[in-house]
């Protein structure tokens, strides 16, 4: 015999479960996104494509991004960075991104950062100067695979950072790019905690939330050399190897759209339901 209390409880749970949108379980499908977005009448939806086979870890993109977007050059924050993954035969993953790869990777040693035991209590002061910086040597014969993965804001279709902003300082522009209103941000840091990809940080000068915005001042201007197209982001332009590309997923003739539609591409952390719009060629399961 079911008790009244149990019956009510189960009913409430059943209704709550039934009300949960099926969209929450949906896995991203770029084709559907393109069709859906082509139908809504808007002309532009910026997406990004990273080819990890082409990336050599030179870090020119990070340098260009910092200079272009006026992110203090020596501060340990950056809108984009490059990660190195070295997978060895013993099944271990060795990953680092020294200074966000602003100066590239000019050593085969893996940067393990400043060890906490050795660092004094006031680790926030100047960790590099106070702690003991440790490195790990990897024998080239032990390497199974090794590669570089550039990271930047995914300009999610469902941006969690925007949802959590209590004042409407961060928002999604009509072309899909997530922007931060510096005059409106109160610096609560919810968005920095909310981003599953860790792309947000506090700007050291303005003390407001800061993030990659696909160089919004560039992608909204026509390219002087080819006025029919738009300027590329600083990182795309600085990359000698074509590892980074930006495109408009609503334009079926865009070379980036063609690759996303016809080749095998992956996204980061799709299980979060954020629908990230940075697509990767050659993504490995070890990449987080």
């Amino acid at each position: 015999m079911i008790s009244r209390r149990k019956f009510l409880k189960n009913t409430a749970l059943g209704i709550a479960g039934g009300a949960l949108s099926l969209a929450a379980f949906e896995i991203i499908d770029p084709k559907k996104l393109m069709a859906l977005e082509a139908a809504d009448g808007k002309k532009i939806r910026w997406v990004f494509l990273v080819d990890t086979y082409k990336c050599v870890g030179c870090g020119m993109c990070v340098k260009a991004c910092k200079l272009e977007n006026e992110i203090p050059y020596d501060a340990s924050v950056t809108r984009t960075w490059v990660e190195r993954y070295v997978l060895t035969k013993d099944g271990k993953v060795h990953a680092d991104t020294p200074k966000g790869a602003r100066d590239g990777f000019t050593t085969s040693k893996i940067d393990l950062g400043v060890s906490e035991e050795a660092a004094p209590k006031d680790i926030l002061a100047k960790p590099e100067e106070n702690g003991v910086h440790t490195y790990e040597d990897i024998n080239p014969a032990d390497i199974d695979k090794a590669f570089f993965v550039p990271k930047l804001c995914n300009q999610c279709e469902n941006p969690p950072c925007v949802q959590v902003c209590p004042v409407g300082a961060t928002y999604q522009a009509p072309d899909g790019v997530v922007l931060v209103d510096r005059t409106w941000c109160i610096g609560c840091g919810y968005c920095i905690m909310g981003c599953p990809y860790g792309v947000r940080f506090f700007h050291p000068v303005y003390h407001t939330a800061e993030k990659c915005n696909f160089c919004y001042h560039r992608i909204t201007k026509p390219d002087p050399q080819n006025p029919k197209t738009f300027m590329k982001t600083a990182c795309v332009q600085a990359c000698p190897f074509g590892a980074r590309q930006i495109g408009n997923i609503k334009d079926p003739n865009d070379p980036v759209t063609k690759i996303i539609m016809t080749e095998r591409v992956g996204v980061l952390k799709e299980e979060y339901g954020t629908k990230p719009q940075v697509f990767y060629i050659g993504l490995d399961k070890e990449v987080r």
Binding site: G104, D144, F148, G168, W184, A238, G242, G282
Partner: protein, 165 residues
């Protein structure tokens, strides 16, 4: 209604009215819901324009920007494997945060050329990484290969395959 209920209620109404009046003056006229609705589009519309044209100036101009005046360098590097490297990667961006660009003849900023060994080692340090393009680039051991001099004292970065200087 009893007085001890009514009086605080009036104070409460007054506070609500004050907040509503203050809101008229404090909230910008263009603040509202964007195309993405309350959840994703709640913002000040003027900020889109600020990001487009005011907050940051374009600094990296691209290779074609240099072509007209530096046709010789543009032409020569294009015959070498280094043609894929944009000029500004080594010479620095052609624009400044103030919006001065290299075309401005009077106040043209001098571009600092990065001739450091570290700059060349970004690509030419040996990293034997399978599945990465890095392993296909020719490299040197910086500790053994003339450690104290700039690469460009022997190699011409605009013509790396053209023999030593």
């Amino acid at each position: 209604m009893k007085n001890h209920v009514l009086r605080p209620f009036i104070v409460f109404l007054g506070i609500v009215a004050l907040i509503l009046i203050a809101r008229i003056f404090l909230v910008p006229k263009d603040f509202g819901i964007g195309e993405r609705g309350y959840m994703y589009g709640w913002h000040r519309h003027g900020n889109e324009e600020e990001w487009k044209n005011q907050i940051i100036k374009v600094k990296y101009m691209g290779k074609e920007y240099c072509k007209d005046c530096h046709a010789d360098k543009y032409g020569s590097i294009n015959k070498t494997p280094h043609r894929i490297i944009p000029c500004e990667d080594c010479h620095g961006p052609a624009g400044t945060p103030e919006g001065i660009v290299h075309y401005d003849a009077d106040k043209r900023p001098k571009l600092p050329i990065d001739k450091s060994r570290a700059q060349c080692l970004r690509c030419h340090y040996p990293l034997p990484y399978p599945t990465s393009g890095r392993s296909k680039i020719r490299s040197i051991d910086p500790d053994k290969h003339n450690p104290d001099i700039e690469c460009s004292s022997c190699h011409n970065p605009h013509n790396p395959m053209g023999g030593l200087r």
